[in-house]
C-alpha cells in the first residue's frame, strides 16, 4: 500500500499527539507525586526515613582502673556477653536446649524451663557474663534464636582480696562503697555516641555528619596498698580467725614513716564480683568504720603522756600490789602478780594496777590532753568512705572510775586505723604521719592528675626520747620477755604491745562473759622500723584461746616475717647468723 506524504504527516501528527499526551500525563502524574512527597508529606517522610536509616551507636567510656602501689590492676572494667534466646524464633525447644547445654555448661532441662517460663518475650537471658570461649562456642551454633549481648562489667581480678578497701560498683556503673565510691567522679567516664546511616539490612553505612561525640574514659586510682603484702596479711588473718573460731578479725599494715597503708584486711571477706551473696556485716571495712575499746594496746599512749608531762620518770617504782588493787566499787586486777615495778615493767607485763597509779598521777585533764594529742576522737581523713571518729568523751562526762579505766584502754573507743597510726607515731620517734591509702590519681592516658604528695605530718604527740624509750625498750621487752613472744622472728627483732579486751554484749551495755577481743600491734625491725602491723581478733572461742598474745601476736609475727623480706629489709645483723 502506498501512502502519500500528506497521509503520513497526518498519521505521524496523530501519533505524536497521542505520545505527547501520554508523556505529559505521566510527567504531570510524576510531578504531582513529587510535589506531594516533597511538600505535603515531606516532614512525615523525613522523620520516617531518619527513624529507618539512622541508628544511634553508643561509644562506651571505660571506668578507670584501680591499681596497687606496684601497678597491679585490682579493679577494671571489661565487657562480658550475656547469652539470650528469642523464643519466637525457636523451632524445637528441646533440640535447642540440647545443643546449647554443653556450650554454656547448664543442664538442658533448666534451659527449657527458662525458655518456657517466658514465651511472651523475645529476650530470655539464659546465662550472664560468660567468658570469651563460651561466647565463641555460642556464636558457632549460628542459630538465629540464640544471641549474645555485651554489657560492661566491673571486674576485681584479686577476687576476695582487698574487697573491703575497693568496695564495689552498682548495676548502673556507679561506685557504691570503698574506693569505688570515694573516687566515683574521677573513675567514671562519659559515654560518647555516634549517629549512623544504615542500609536496608540495618548495617551501618556511614556516620551521620557532625554526630560523633567521642567517649571520655575515666581516670585511674593508684593505691598505697601492695597486693602481695595484702595477700600475706589476709592469709595470716584468715588462718588465725579460723583456728580460734572467731567471729571476725582485721589487720592493718602500714609504713610508720610515710603513713602509707600497705594492707588493710577484714575477715570474713566477700567477693566484689558477686556482692549479693555476701552478708552486709561482712562487707563493712571495720578497720575504719567500727571503733573498739583498745584495751592494753592503749597503755603506751598513756605512758607517753605521763613521761612527757613529767608526772613520772623512768626509774620511779610503783607498788603493783601483787596484781590486785581494791578501789571503791571495783577491784583492779592484773593477769600476773607483781610487786614493785618501774614503768618498763608496767608496760612489759601490762599491769593494770601500775597503770591506774600512773593515771592518778597524771589526773584527768592530762590524760584527756594526751589522748587528744594522738588525734583520737577525730577522723584521720583517710580517703575511704565511712571512717568513724571514735569516742573520747568530754572531760566533764568522766566518772570516778574513768581515770583507771581510760589508762587500761576502756571507756574510750578508737578505730583500728587510729590505733595503728598512734602506734606508728611512737615507733617513728614521736612524729605522727597522716595515714593514706591513695598514692596518686592518673588520667585515662596515664598522665598524672594528682601526684604523690609528701607525707603529711599531723604533729609530734610524744617527745622523741620518750618515744624511743617506749618503742625500743618497753615494747621490745614485751616481745622479748612477756606477752608478745609469739611475734618473735628469727631474722628480725620485733617490738609490740598486746591487748585483750572484754566485749560488750550485743544490745545490753554490760560486758559479756566469755566475749573477748585479742589484739597485737607490732613493728619491725627494731631501730629501723619499716612496717607496723595491727591485728584484732574479735570473739574467738575462749575455750581455744582469746588473749591477744595467743590469737593476734602470732599473726603479726607471720605478717612481718613474710613482708619484711618482700619489701627488701635486710635481716638484723645480730640475728642473721642464727637461722631457724
Amino acid at each position: 500500500m502506498n501512502r502519500t506524504p500528506g497521509s503520513l504527516d497526518r498519521y505521524q501528527r496523530r501519533s505524536g499527539v497521542v505520545l505527547l499526551s501520554i508523556s505529559m500525563t505521566v510527567l504531570l502524574g510524576l510531578g504531582g507525586r513529587l510535589a506531594q512527597i516533597n511538600v505535603v508529606d515531606r516532614q512525615r517522610l523525613v522523620d520516617y526515613a531518619e527513624r529507618q536509616q539512622q541508628g544511634e551507636a553508643v561509644l562506651p567510656a571505660r571506668r578507670g582502673m584501680v591499681l596497687d602501689s606496684k601497678g597491679r590492676v585490682v579493679a577494671a572494667t571489661e565487657h562480658l556477653p550475656d547469652v539470650y534466646v528469642d523464643p519466637t524464633r525457636i523451632k524445637n525447644v528441646e533440640e535447642l536446649a540440647a545443643e546449647l547445654s554443653p556450650r554454656i555448661n547448664i543442664p538442658a532441662s533448666r534451659i527449657v524451663e527458662r525458655i518456657r517460663s517466658r514465651t511472651a518475650t523475645q529476650y530470655v537471658i539464659i546465662e550472664r557474663r560468660v567468658d570469651s570461649i563460651t561466647a565463641e562456642a555460642v556464636r558457632a551454633m549460628k542459630n538465629p534464636a540464640v544471641g549474645l549481648t555485651e554489657h560492661p562489667v566491673r571486674s576485681y581480678p584479686l577476687s576476695e582480696s582487698l574487697s573491703h578497701v575497693l568496695g564495689w560498683v552498682g548495676r548502673d556503673g556507679h561506685g557504691l562503697e570503698g574506693i569505688e565510691l570515694a573516687f566515683d567522679t574521677h573513675l567514671r567516664g562519659k559515654d560518647g555516641h555516634r549517629s549512623t546511616i544504615r542500609d536496608a539490612r540495618r548495617r551501618a553505612l556511614k556516620n551521620a555528619e557532625g554526630e560523633v561525640v567521642a567517649p571520655v574514659d575515666g581516670g585511674h586510682v593508684v593505691l598505697t596498698i601492695d597486693a602481695e603484702i595484702q595477700r600475706i596479711t589476709e592469709d595470716a588473718l584468715a588462718e588465725s580467725v579460723d583456728h580460734v573460731e572467731a567471729e571476725n578479725g582485721l589487720a592493718i599494715v602500714m609504713s610508720p614513716k610515710t603513713g602509707d597503708i600497705l594492707a588493710m584486711a577484714c575477715y570474713p571477706t566477700f567477693d566484689p564480683n558477686n556482692v549479693t551473696v555476701s552478708k552486709p556485716e561482712d562487707r563493712r571495712n571495720r578497720a575504719i568504720t567500727d571503733p573498739v575499746e583498745p584495751g592494753s594496746t592503749f597503755k603506751p599512749v598513756i605512758v607517753s603522756g605521763a613521761l612527757d608531762g613529767g608526772f613520772i620518770n623512768k626509774t620511779q617504782k610503783f607498788d603493783c600490789m601483787l596484781g590486785t588493787r581494791p578501789m571503791p566499787g571495783r577491784v583492779i586486777k592484773d593477769v600476773t602478780s607483781h610487786g614493785l615495778m618501774d614503768v618498763l615493767g608496767i608496760v612489759t607485763y601490762s599491769s593494770n594496777v601500775g597503770m591506774s597509779f600512773i593515771a592518778e598521777k597524771m589526773g584527768n585533764p592530762a590524760l584527756h590532753a594526751t589522748i587528744r594529742r594522738f588525734h583520737f576522737g577525730e577522723k584521720l581523713g583517710i580517703e575511704c568512705p565511712g571512717e568513724a571518729d571514735g569516742l573520747v568523751r568530754p572531760l566533764k562526762k568522766w566518772g570516778s572510775m574513768s581515770t583507771a579505766s581510760v589508762a587500761m584502754g576502756y571507756e574510750i573507743t578508737v578505730t583500728p586505723l587510729q590505733l595503728a597510726t598512734a602506734f606508728s607515731a611512737i615507733v617513728n620517734e614521736g612524729v605522727m604521719v597522716k595515714p593514706r591509702i591513695v598514692k596518686r590519681l592518673l588520667n585515662a592516658d596515664g598522665s598524672v592528675a594528682r601526684d604523690e604528695a609528701p607525707p603529711r605530718i599531723l604533729g609530734q604527740p610524744v617527745d622523741a626520747e620518750t618515744a624511743k624509750f617506749l618503742a625500743r625498750e618497753a615494747m621490745v621487752s614485751v616481745v622479748e620477755n612477756s606477752s608478745g613472744r609469739a611475734a618473735q622472728l628469727d631474722h628480725y627483732q620485733v617490738l609490740g604491745k598486746t591487748g585483750t579486751t572484754k566485749l560488750m554484749s550485743k544490745g545490753a551495755k554490760v560486758y559479756e562473759s566469755g566475749a573477748y577481743q585479742g589484739a597485737f600491734v607490732g613493728a619491725a625491725p627494731v631501730g629501723r622500723e619499716e612496717l607496723v602491723a595491727l591485728v584484732m581478733i574479735r570473739r574467738p572461742n575462749a575455750k581455744i584461746a582469746y588473749y591477744g598474745s595467743a590469737v593476734a601476736a602470732p599473726v603479726v609475727g607471720k605478717i612481718l616475717g613474710q613482708s619484711l623480706p618482700y619489701v627488701g629489709v635486710l635481716p638484723d645483723p645480730q640475728l642473721a647468723s642464727t637461722g631457724p
Partner: protein, 95 residues
C-alpha cells in the same frame, strides 16, 4: 548539530555521569569503611579491656603463689622461710 557531534556530546555526558556515579559510590564505600572501623575500634577497646583484666587475674599474687607451689619450681614465696610455723607460735604463746 551533526549526528557525530550529538554522539560525542552524549558520550561526554555519559562519561561525566559515570565518573560522578563512581565517585559517589567510592565516597559511600569509604564512609561505610570508616564506620566499620569505628565499630571495630569499639570492639578492639573492649577486647583490650578484657585482655587487661585477664592479665590482671594471672598477675594476682594469689595466683602466682598458687602456681609457684603447684609447679614445684623450687622458688620460695617471699619470706617463707623467715617465720615460725603456726604451731610453734601457739606453743610460744602458751609458754
Amino acid at each position: 548539530m551533526t549526528v557525530a557531534r550529538g554522539c560525542a556530546l552524549l558520550i561526554c555526558f555519559t562519561a561525566i555521569a559515570l565518573t560522578v556515579l563512581h565517585l559517589r559510590s567510592e565516597q559511600t564505600r569509604s564512609a561505610a569503611r570508616l564506620s566499620a572501623m569505628d565499630a571495630r575500634w569499639v570492639e578492639l577497646r573492649r577486647d583490650l579491656w578484657g585482655v587487661q583484666t585477664r592479665i590482671a587475674r594471672l598477675r594476682s599474687p594469689e595466683r602466682i603463689h598458687d602456681r609457684v607451689l603447684a609447679f614445684q619450681t623450687g622458688l620460695v614465696p617471699p619470706g617463707y622461710d623467715a617465720v615460725h610455723k603456726p604451731d610453734e607460735r601457739l606453743a610460744a604463746a602458751k609458754r
